[in-house]
Symmetry: C2
Subunit: 586 residues, 2 copies
C-alpha cells in the first residue's frame, strides 16, 4: 500500500477519490461504533475513519493501534458533515473512509507527548530526539532551516559564487578559541585541528583566483558552552576579490532580503542603518545594538564634571564618564523594583546605581541632595526629562558604564515590551578598532581577527598609536544579536607581518603558524574581503526561539555530550595504541 | 578602478565601450613599441594593449609587470584587425586599449607554469595549491563540482527532500574502517568520532518522521590511502520512508539524468540496465562491471568436467570453476604479449594462464595436447570461437577466476580501446548477498552494512543458511566504478538484533554500540531505505581524471598530510594537558 498522497495534500478537490496514506497514529478516538484516527505525516494531519461495516479486518487492526504506531491505509476521501468540520485542521473539511489498513510498525508509549509547547526536561528530549523531532514545531524549525540555507545557496549561485568545500582536517593555530584536535595515526604525536572557521582557506582561494567563494561550513570551537553556543555550528562563509566594503554590504543586504522573504515571507527594508562602533557603544552600550526601540543612552560627563557628588567626580577624575539611561514611563517603579535594577547594574560591573525618579512636582532620588537646584535643572533639561521618567546613572570607565546601562536598557526594553516581538531590525556596525588591549595577556589582541585590513588612512598609526587604528570590518546585527561579521583583508605581506608583530607574534611564530599565508601573499594576491554568518543563530531568531539547540537536528548538551548516542565515549586500547596516545590520569 | 566586466563577458558587442578589468597577468609581450598583456581572471583571458602614446604612466607600469602580477586596467574595447584575430581565444576578436592602469599586487615567479597539462610533482602542486588552482583545468574541475552539487540539491529540493545537517562529533562504533577520533576536553579519556557516514543519523531522522532527507555530507575514514581515497570525502546521502527499491532506483536515475545534463551537457539514457550480483561476477568478473564493452566471460565447467587436463579437473574437483574470456581480435598477440597477460593473471591470484590462439587453420596453444580433437571442437563451438580469437582460461575457485578474468577483460578493454573514453555507461547491481564469510576474522561480515534489510522471502534463511540470504541492496556503477550504493533498511528491532548476532555482536555489545538505534525501533519506525554517492569520484569520472585529488580543493597526500599548511603538526603541551592526553613513545 504505497502512499498516493501526503496528508495535507488532500483537500475538498479529492472528494470521491480513492487514496493511500502512510504515517503515524497521532490520536485515536472510538465513537459511535467507529474508530477515528488522526494520521500524521511530515506534512501534517488527516482524519481517517474505520467503519467495521466497510472492512472488519481493518477495524480489528484499528482497535489495537496506539499512538505512534506506523500505518498504511487505503480509502475514499469524503467531505465531513458541517457539524463535524474541524476548522483548526488544514484538512478539517474532509476525512478518509478506510477500506484497507496495514500496521507497518508498532510503538511503545513515548516518554513525552508528541505535540507543541511541551514542558519537558531538555535532556530527555535530546535522549529521544527522534520523538522530539516529530513535534510539529521542531519539524518546522528544521524545514525552515533547510529553506533558509537553500535560498542562500540559490542567491549566491546566481550572483556567480561557487561553493568550495574546505578541509575539516586542518592545522591547529591556537588563537582565540580552543581547537578540537584530531590525532594522526600516520604521524604519531601530531594532530589535525577541526576548523574554527575556513578563514585561511577562503583567503587562499582568493589567492587561487576563485574570486567569488562561499560555503555553508561546519565550524568547531572547544569552548565552555552557553545557551547559544554549540561545539559545532554552521556558518555561511563568503569571500570575494576586487571588492571594498560597499560591495559586500550591498550583496548581503540583497541576500538577507531574499532569504527573509522566500524562506519566511518576511519583508525587510534595505539598506540597513549603519552605526559606528563608537556611537553604538555610547548610545546603546553595546557593539550589538538592539534598534527595535529607542532609549538612547546620553553622555553628561561634560555637564557634571564640576559637581560635588563624589561618585561622579571621582569617576571622571579617573578618566571615566557619566552617562544616563532615561527609562521613560518607569517613574512609577517602586523602590523594590529600582533596587532590583541596582542589582542588575552591579551584576554587570557597576559599583551601584544612582537614579532620579522624575515626578510631577518633585524629584525622588537618593542623590539629588548632592546637587544644587541649578545643576539638577541643567541635567533634566539636557536629558529632556519629563514627569514619569526614571533616570538611571552610570559613572565609571566608559566600557563599564556602557555595559551597565546597555544591559539595563535591554532588560527594561524586554520587560516593558518596548518593541514588537515579530520585528526584525537589522543594522550594520562599522569602524571597529583594529586592536584592543588585553589586560590579562598584556598585549594587543585583534578585535575582529588578525587578517583584517586597517583603514588605508590609519596605516601610519600602526607604528605610532595602534589603539587608534580603525579596521575595515563590519558586523551585521539583528535584534541586538550579532549574526555576521567580516572585513576587507590584508593582501600585502608587509602589512600582515606588521599586524602579526603588533599582536605579539615573533617572526618565527608567524612563519611557523601562518608561513603559507605569508608566502601566498608573494604570488599575486588580489585585494579581497568577506563575511561570515551564524546560520544557527539566524534561524533561531527567525523562529523566535531562545536556544540554537532548537534549530539543530542533533545538538550537544551544555557539557558537550549527546544523550542519544552517549558520545563522547571511551575507545578501545587498540584505537589508542594506533594513535600513539595514552590517557593522562588526573 | 572597480571591475565593470569579467574578461570573457566582453565581445564584439562591447566595441567602443570604456571598461575596467581586474585580474592576473597571464603573459606579457612587447612588440612594435606596444605592450600586450593577456589578462586572466576566473572567467578566462582578454588581451589588453598598452600604448605609450595613450598613457605614458600606464606604459611605464606595464614595462615592469611580470607574470601573475595583479592589475586593474581601464580602456576602450576595440576590434582587432583581421590579421591579429586569435581564434583560440573566446575574446580573440577584441582587445582593450588601456588608458589607465594600476598594479594591485606584485608576484614572485611561480614554481611552475600556470597552464594546463603541466608535468609537475604533485607534492609541489599541493604545496602551492593557490597557484595550481589558477590553472584553467583545475578551476574548471572546481566549477563543475559546484555545478554538480548544486544541481543535486536543486533536484532533491524540488522532490520534497530536506537537507539536514548531522553531527561531525559523533560516537565511535568501530566496524569496518578506522574512525578518526576527537578527544573530549570536558570528559577526560573519552572521544568523539568523525562520521564514516551519517548512516545512523539518517535512519534516526526517518524514525523522527522526516520522510525525505538528504545531505551533502563530509565523511572520514582513517585508512591507508589509495589513489582514489582521501581521509575526508564528500558523499551525497539520501534516505526516504515508506519506499521500496523501485522508488529509490527511479529517483536516482532521474537525478543522474539531470545532473549529467545540467552540469555537463551530457545526455544519458534511463532506465539503467540492472544486473544481479551473481551475473556480474560470472560475466564480468566484478561486482562493479564495466559495460562500456561486451567481452562476457563464459563458464565451461560443465563442458570440461571430464577432461584429462589436470589444471581444469583438479580445480573442478576442489569445487572450483573453469571460465573463458574470449579476447576477440587478439589472435595476433605475440608470445611475449601473451606472457605479459599471464603475469597480470598471476598478479590477480591465478596460478597461471592457459590460452588457445585460434588461427585460420590451426590452433596455437600449450594446452591443446591435453585435449582430444572432439573436446577442443566442443569448446570452440560453445565459445563461438573464430580465427583471430585468443581464448584465455581461468580454472580455480569461482572468486579467484572472476578476479583474474575480470582484470584481464578490463586490461585488454583499455589497451585495445574497446570503448569510447567519453561514454558514460551506468548500471545497477542488485541481489547482493547479505553476508560474506571473512576467513581472517572467522565470522560473517555484512556485504553492504549491518542495517541492510534481507529480502522478505529470505528471512527464514537467516537461521538456516545465512550465506544464501540476499540483501535488499543496490549499487550504482559508472564505467566500471561503483559510485553509489544503498539499501532498504531493517526497521524491526527483532530483525536487527538477529543480524547483529549473525555478525558476531553479543547482545551486550549490540546494546553498547547501537542501543539507541534498537531503542528507536521500538517507537514507531517506518519502513525506510536510502543510498549514498561518492561525489568526488563522480566528478572525477565526469572530468575524466584519474585522481580524486584533482577535484578536491585542498586534498591530502597519500600519507594523509597537507604540504601547504603542514598539517598535521605537533601541538602545545598545554593543549595535550587540557585533553588529558600523553604521547606514547614508539
Amino acid at each position: 500500500m504505497k502512499r498516493t498522497h501526503s496528508a495535507t495534500s488532500l483537500s475538498m478537490e479529492n472528494v470521491g477519490q480513492e487514496v493511500v496514506v502512510n504515517g503515524w497514529v497521532n490520536t485515536r478516538r472510538d465513537h459511535g461504533g467507529l474508530i477515528f484516527i488522526d494520521l500524521r505525516d511530515r506534512s501534517g494531519i488527516i482524519q481517517i475513519v474505520i467503519n467495521p461495516e466497510l472492512n472488519k479486518e481493518a477495524f480489528h487492526l484499528a482497535e489495537n493501534v496506539r499512538s505512534e504506531y506506523v500505518i498504511a491505509a487505503r480509502g475514499k476521501v469524503l467531505a465531513r458533515s458541517e457539524a463535524t468540520v474541524n476548522p483548526n485542521l488544514k484538512t478539517g473539511r474532509i476525512e478518509i473512509h478506510i477500506e484497507q489498513m496495514e500496521v507497518l510498525n508498532t510503538a511503545k508509549t513515548p516518554p513525552f507527548y508528541i505535540e507543541d509547547g511541551i514542558e519537558v526536561d531538555e535532556i530527555l528530549r535530546m535522549r529521544y530526539r527522534y520523538l522530539d523531532l516529530r513535534r510539529p514545531e521542531m519539524r518546522d524549525n528544521l524545514m525552515l532551516r533547510h529553506r533558509v540555507i537553500s535560498t542562500m545557496r540559490e542567491f549566491l549561485d546566481k550572483e556567480g559564487f561557487i561553493e568550495i568545500e574546505t578541509p575539516m582536517l586542518g592545522r591547529s593555530t591556537p588563537e582565540g578559541a580552543r581547537d578540537y584536535l584530531v590525532p594522526s595515526r600516520v604521524h604519531p604525536g601530531e594532530f589535525f585541528a577541526l576548523p574554527q572557521s575556513p578563514q585561511q582557506y577562503k583567503q587562499i582561494l582568493m589567492v587561487a583566483g576563485m574570486e567569488k567563494y562561499f560555503q555553508i561550513a561546519r565550524c568547531f570551537r572547544d569552548e565552555d558552552l552557553r545557551a547559544d553556543r554549540q561545539p559545532e555550528f554552521t556558518q555561511l562563509d563568503i569571500e570575494m576579490s576586487f571588492v571594498d566594503e560597499e560591495d559586500i554590504i550591498t550583496l548581503i543586504e540583497a541576500l538577507m532580503k531574499k532569504v527573509f522573504k522566500e524562506s519566511n515571507q518576511i519583508d525587510i527594508t534595505t539598506p540597513f542603518p549603519r552605526i559606528t562602533y563608537d556611537e553604538a557603544m555610547l548610545k546603546y552600550g553595546s557593539d550589538q545594538p538592539d534598534l527595535r526601540f529607542g532609549w538612547e543612552i546620553q553622555d553628561i560627563t561634560e555637564l557634571v564634571k564640576d559637581v560635588d557628588f563624589k561618585v561622579f567626580s571621582s569617576a571622571i577624575a579617573a578618566g571615566g564618564v557619566v552617562r544616563v539611561l532615561n527609562a521613560k514611563s518607569c517613574g512609577s517603579f517602586t523602590r523594590k523594583e529600582i533596587d532590583e535594577l541596582g542589582r542588575i547594574a552591579v551584576a554587570h560591573g557597576a559599583k551601584g546605581l544612582a537614579w532620579i525618579n522624575v515626578r510631577e512636582n518633585e524629584l525622588n532620588s537618593p542623590i539629588i541632595k548632592f546637587f544644587s537646584e541649578e545643576q539638577i535643572q541643567s541635567i533634566l533639561t539636557a536629558l529632556d526629562a519629563h514627569p514619569g521618567d526614571l533616570l538611571l546613572f552610570g559613572a565609571d570607565q566608559a566600557e563599564v558604564v556602557a555595559k551597565v546601562l546597555g544591559s539595563l536598557r535591554l532588560e527594561l526594553g524586554k520587560r516593558l515590551k518596548l518593541y514588537d516581538e515579530s520585528t526584525f531590525s537589522f543594522n550594520w556596525v562599522v569602524d571597529f578598532p583594529m586592536f584592543e588591549f588585553d589586560k590579562e595577556e598584556r598585549r594587543f589582541v585583534a578585535v575582529h581577527h588578525m587578517f583584517t585590513s586597517p583603514r588605508n588612512e590609519d596605516i601610519p598609526l600602526l607604528d605610532t598609536a595602534p589603539a587608534q587604528v580603525r579596521a575595515r570590518s563590519y558586523d551585521l546585527v539583528l535584534n541586538g544579536i550579532e549574526i555576521g561579521g567580516g572585513s576587507i583583508r590584508i593582501h600585502r605581506r608587509d602589512w600582515q607581518e606588521k599586524v602579526f608583530s603588533l599582536l605579539g607574534l615573533s617572526p618565527d611564530e608567524a612563519r611557523d603558524k601562518f608561513g603559507f599565508m605569508l608566502e601566498a601573499f608573494d604570488y599575486g594576491t588580489p585585494p579581497h574581503g568577506g563575511i561570515a554568518f551564524g546560520v544557527d543563530r539566524m534561524v533561531m531568531l527567525m523562529r523566535q526561539r531562545d536556544s540554537i539547540r532548537d534549530v539543530i537536528a542533533f545538538p550537544k548538551t551544555q557539557s558537550a555530550s549527546c544523550p542519544m548516542t552517549s558520545a563522547p565515549s571511551a575507545v578501545s586500547p587498540r584505537q589508542l595504541r594506533e594513535l600513539s596516545l595514552k590517557i593522562r590520569d588526573k
